[in-house]
Each structure stands twice: as structure tokens, then as C-alpha cells.
């Protein structure tokens, strides 16, 4: 068991699934669920391997870098892969009920997305990362447009432009690095990279591209309409996972390159932008009139927190752990919220916040999902969000950078504001004027499952952080 090359199967299984679902559309659902199962096994196998044997490298085609491409997995990779699995598996089950028979292209596109994410997390080559970014971006855009309404189409188009601009900026940076250092291998580059202007510009280009793709304030303009107008399971994937792909890549570049090329100003800028995102995103979420827009703006806000950790990364382990835990808990909580919002849409045909009275009576499980996921977004114990904020505060206090702690606390208050906006309506005990449509039980249950997971993430912090340490 422990010798199997799980690292390869983590990418190949969803990719083969995507191909098979395309070739055999009538069996799309079954192919997707089977491929999901297989990918899950591969991810768990790889994680166990990593926990036992430490970080691993895999030279594709047995060509070692710099000639060939190598895959690389350490604890950070494993946590990302597990996060993807955690969100994807319930979302596929949800989608089976959500899409009924019609949208058979969803299964192929969804598996392409999964393959792209896994390939991105595992890639150890800066150009290969560009290809995975494009695979990720195009599948995300196609999924966004799958809704078919004009709003979704416009949002998808805008998303595509932002995504292409981001990856071309990244690619230009890759070109400069290759011209100067004659290698595309991430780790080798990390060892040889210097502080000359060309390298600095290359890194700035790559980082800017990733910031655009991660929708960090003020480059977030494309995110709310895309995430709000996509179909619910797609929104869950986009908000929970896709933005984490580029955030992970930024973090990886930072960890590999920046110890040698530290510019204090750059981490400060990221932190400040993160603070701006927390405030602006939360404020927009508080003002939103539709449930899905509220949840989407909450994503803009929540994506600010990981960036607060960047100025603290140099100080030590806590900041990295906080950053990763923010990604993890937001993935589960936000996916749960979007899935629950999808149930609301299914029941009422619209999601205007002003008209959501008495939700509790119709969709009790979805309301429960909102409450539990909300607890994690606000950061109350024992949720994953609480652990992340706690770690961030510790890192901030340890280095005496109180400012970031204040932003975190402010964000907590604002998050409470928008979460309670949902709950006060939902818990009102009034009878509804129009009869809601039935919502399949599996849709409500999967949302609840993810919400519970986001809460429980706080209780499994020790093993998760232990895994994260592999290879550090």
C-alpha cells in the first residue's frame, strides 16, 4: 500500500473521470461519483504516505528537473487536497439532486475542475502551474456559465477576462525567471533566485496575477457577480475551492522565493489589502439585498484574513498555520452556505433577503447549516474559524503587531452583523404567503454536513496542524 504512487493517481483519477464523463454522457453521474470515490481514496492514501514517510517528489517520465517536471507533495499539499475532497464529495452528491437529468456537461466540467485543483496543488514546476491555472480558470468559467441566464453569462465572461489576465501576468513572470535562471523547477528557483530588479519584477507579475485570480480587494470586482449568479453547487466550488487554488500558489511562491528576496513592504501591502478586503467585503455583505450576493461578498471579506497572516509569516509557524486554517474553515463554511442558499432558491424561486421570513419552518436543516457555518465565519469556538483567528492573534501578539489583531476583531463584529441578517429573517415565526417547492433531502443534508464539518474543524486542529508540519 505505502509504495503505491498515490501522488499520480490524485491527478489522473479525476482527469480520467472527466474524459469518461464526456465520452459517456448518459452515465455522467455515475462516472462522477465513482471518480470522486477513487480520488478520495488516492488523496487519503497520499496523505497517509506523507504522514508516515515525509514529503515526496515524483519525477514525471523519470526526467529529473530542470529537464523534466516533478510533482511535489508535503503537508501543505496534503491539507489542500483534503480540503478539496471535503468540499467536492458532498457537492457532487448535492449536484446529483440539484441538476436532475439535464446538465450532463456539469459532471465532466466538475471533474476537470477537481483534476485542475489537484494538479495545481501537486505541481512543482512554474510553467506546469500555468497550465493547471488555465485548466482551473476555464473549467470554473464554463461552470459559471452553465446556469445559462444572462447574468451568469456576463459574470462568467468578466471572470474569464480576469482569469486570463491573471494567468498571462503570471506567465510573463515565469518567462523572465526562466530567461534568467534557466530552470522552471519551483524548488531550484527558490534556491538560486536573487534580489535583482528582473527577479523582483517577475515575482511582482506572478503575485499580481494571483491576487487578481484570488480576488483580493481591490481586484475583487469580478467575484461577487460570478459567485452569486452561478448554480448553487458551482458557487460552492468557486467560493470554497477555486479562489484557494491561486491563493495556495501565491503562498507557495512566497514560501519558496521570499525568504531570499524579502521585501518587508510587499508583505505589508498584502496585509493592508487584506484588511481592506475584510472591511469592504463585510460592509457590502451587510448591505446586500440578496442572499447569494451576501454570501459572495462574505467571500471577498473572508479572503482578506489569510492575507493578514502574510506580514506575520516571517515570525514563525503560527501565522502559516493560521493562514491555512482560514482557507480550510472558509472552504467548508462557505460551501455549506452556498449549498444551503441553493436550497432556499429551489424552495422559493428567489432569494431576496427581505422575503425570507419563516425559513425555519420550511427548511430547518438549511437554517441549521446557515447557523453552524455562520459560527465558523464569525469565528466562535469551537469552529475552524475560531482556531484560525486564535492562531492569527497569537502570531500578532508574539510579534507585537497589534494592528492585525484589531482588524481581525473588527472583521468578527462585521461578520456577526451579516450572519445575523440572515438568521433574524430566517428565524421569524411567520407563515409564508406562497407555497414553497419541495427540496430534495440530500441537498439539505449535504449542506448541513459541510456546516458541521466547518464546526468540527476546530476540534481536529491538532492532527491537521501535525500533517501541515510534514516537510516544513
Amino acid at each position: 500500500m505505502s509504495e503505491l504512487p498515490w501522488i499520480v493517481w490524485v491527478v489522473l483519477t479525476p482527469l480520467a473521470g472527466a474524459l469518461l464523463a464526456f465520452l459517456w454522457p448518459a452515465q455522467g453521474v455515475r462516472v462522477a461519483l465513482l471518480a470522486g470515490l477513487g480520488t478520495g481514496v488516492a488523496v487519503l492514501g497520499l496523505s497517509l504516505q506523507l504522514a508516515q514517510l515525509g514529503a515526496q517528489r515524483y519525477a514525471v517520465g523519470a526526467w529529473d528537473p530542470p529537464l523534466g517536471i516533478s510533482l511535489y507533495a508535503d503537508g501543505l499539499t496534503a491539507v489542500m487536497l483534503l480540503m478539496t475532497l471535503l468540499v467536492f464529495a458532498p457537492t457532487l452528491v448535492y449536484a446529483r439532486a440539484y441538476f436532475k437529468q439535464t446538465a450532463h456537461l456539469f459532471w465532466s466540467l466538475g471533474l476537470f475542475l477537481w483534476a485542475a485543483l489537484n494538479a495545481l496543488f501537486l505541481s512543482g514546476d512554474v510553467f506546469n502551474l500555468y497550465v493547471t491555472l488555465e485548466l482551473l480558470g476555464l473549467s470554473a468559467v464554463a461552470l459559471t456559465a452553465l446556469g445559462g441566464q444572462s447574468q451568469a453569462l456576463v459574470a462568467a465572461y468578466r471572470y474569464l477576462l480576469a482569469s486570463l489576465l491573471g494567468s498571462l501576468s503570471y506567465l510573463l513572470g515565469v518567462g523572465l525567471l526562466y530567461a534568467e535562471y534557466a530552470t522552471l523547477d519551483l524548488q531550484t528557483l527558490g534556491q538560486v533566485i536573487g534580489l535583482d530588479p528582473a527577479s523582483a519584477v517577475a515575482l511582482a507579475l506572478m503575485a499580481t496575477g494571483m491576487l487578481l485570480k484570488t480576488a483580493l480587494f481591490p481586484l475583487h470586482f469580478w467575484l461577487p457577480p460570478a459567485h452569486a449568479s452561478a448554480a448553487a453547487p458551482v458557487s460552492a466550488l468557486l467560493s470554497g475551492l477555486v479562489v484557494k487554488g491561486s491563493l495556495y500558489l501565491l503562498l507557495r511562491l512566497w514560501l519558496e522565493f521570499f525568504p531570499e528576496t524579502t521585501v518587508p513592504a510587499s508583505s505589508l501591502i498584502l496585509g493592508l489589502l487584506g484588511a481592506g478586503a475584510v472591511v469592504w467585503g463585510s460592509w457590502q455583505a451587510i448591505r446586500a439585498r440578496r442572499l447569494k450576493f451576501l454570501v459572495a461578498y462574505s467571500t471577498v471579506a473572508q479572503l482578506g484574513y489569510p492575507f493578514l497572516a502574510f506580514p506575520l509569516l516571517a515570525a514563525g509557524w503560527d501565522a502559516l498555520a493560521a493562514l491555512v486554517y482560514f482557507m480550510l474553515s472558509h472552504a467548508a463554511a462557505k460551501a455549506a452556505m452556498f449549498l444551503a442558499a441553493g436550497s432556499v432558491l429551489r424552495a422559493f424561486g428567489q432569494d431576496r433577503l427581505a422575503e425570507l421570513h419563516g425559513l425555519l419552518r420550511v427548511l430547518p436543516l438549511s437554517v441549521a447549516a446557515f447557523i453552524l457555518a455562520g459560527i465558523s465565519l464569525i469565528g466562535l469556538p469551537p469552529s475552524g474559524g475560531f482556531v484560525a483567528k486564535w492562531l492569527l492573534l497569537e502570531a500578532a501578539f508574539a510579534t507585537g503587531q497589534w494592528g492585525w489583531a484589531l482588524v481581525t476583531l473588527l472583521g468578527t463584529l462585521l461578520a456577526a452583523g451579516y450572519v445575523f441578517r440572515i438568521l433574524t429573517r430566517a428565524l421569524e415565526d411567520t407563515t409564508l404567503s406562497d407555497r414553497p417547492s419541495p427540496v430534495p433531502r440530500s441537498m439539505e443534508l449535504t449542506a448541513l454536513l459541510l456546516a458541521v464539518a466547518s464546526l468540527l474543524l476546530g476540534l481536529v486542529a491538532l492532527p491537521v496542524l501535525g500533517l501541515l508540519e510534514v516537510g516544513r
Binding site: F127, V131, E134, L138, V141, A142, A145, Q149, S150, L153, V154, A156, Y157, R158, L160, L161, L164, L165, L168, L171, L172, G175, L176, Y178, A179, L184, P224, P225, A228, A288, R289, R290, F293
Partner: protein
């Protein structure tokens, strides 16, 4: 010398297309701008690769750009399909500032 000339052409294409991308609102013009932008980036790769001592330009740079060209046509096709569908459903061919709802 070719290297220097075309490196600068590549940078020029990037500058022009970035500006065009930000000021144009017509969907097709944006697609054109993205394509020219990609060409500028590829040009930088190949111009650099052309100073390799072999009979042909750096083979890795060439392979990367071929991959890039195929990715670019894929993205362009998706963008054009979206643009056409937007025109069909909304009757408009431009992106304008939009607000929620």
C-alpha cells in the same frame, strides 16, 4: 540584434493591449486585446530563446509557447462563445458597469 528588437516589440504589445483591454467595453475588442497580450508574452519568450547557440531557438521556450498558443485558442473559443451568447440573450455586445440585482 533580433533578440533586442523583438523583446521590445513584445513589451510594446503587452503595454498596448493592456491599455486596450482596460478602456474597451466591446466584448470582441476585449478578446482581441487578450490575444494580442498573449502574443506579446510569447514574443518575449521566443525573443529571449532566439539567442541560444543552437541552430534553432531554445527548444524549451518553443515548446512552452506552443503550449501557450493552444491554451490561448482554447480560451478564445470559450470567450467568443460566451460573447455570442451574451449578445443573443441580452442584445448588448458591451460590458458596462453593473450593479447587484
Amino acid at each position: 540584434m533580433s533578440t533586442l528588437v523583438f523583446l521590445l516589440v513584445g513589451v510594446g504589445l503587452v503595454v498596448m493591449s493592456l491599455h486596450a483591454l482596460f478602456v474597451h467595453t466591446h466584448l470582441l475588442r476585449q478578446v482581441l486585446a487578450i490575444n494580442v497580450l498573449g502574443t506579446g508574452v510569447f514574443m518575449v519568450f521566443i525573443a529571449w530563446g532566439s539567442q541560444s547557440p543552437t541552430p534553432h531557438a531554445d527548444p524549451v521556450a518553443q515548446a512552452l509557447v506552443i503550449t501557450g498558443i493552444v491554451v490561448a485558442v482554447s480560451a478564445t473559443a470559450l470567450a467568443l462563445a460566451l460573447a455570442l451568447r451574451i449578445k443573443q440573450t441580452t442584445g448588448r455586445a458591451t460590458l458596462s458597469e453593473e450593479t447587484e440585482e
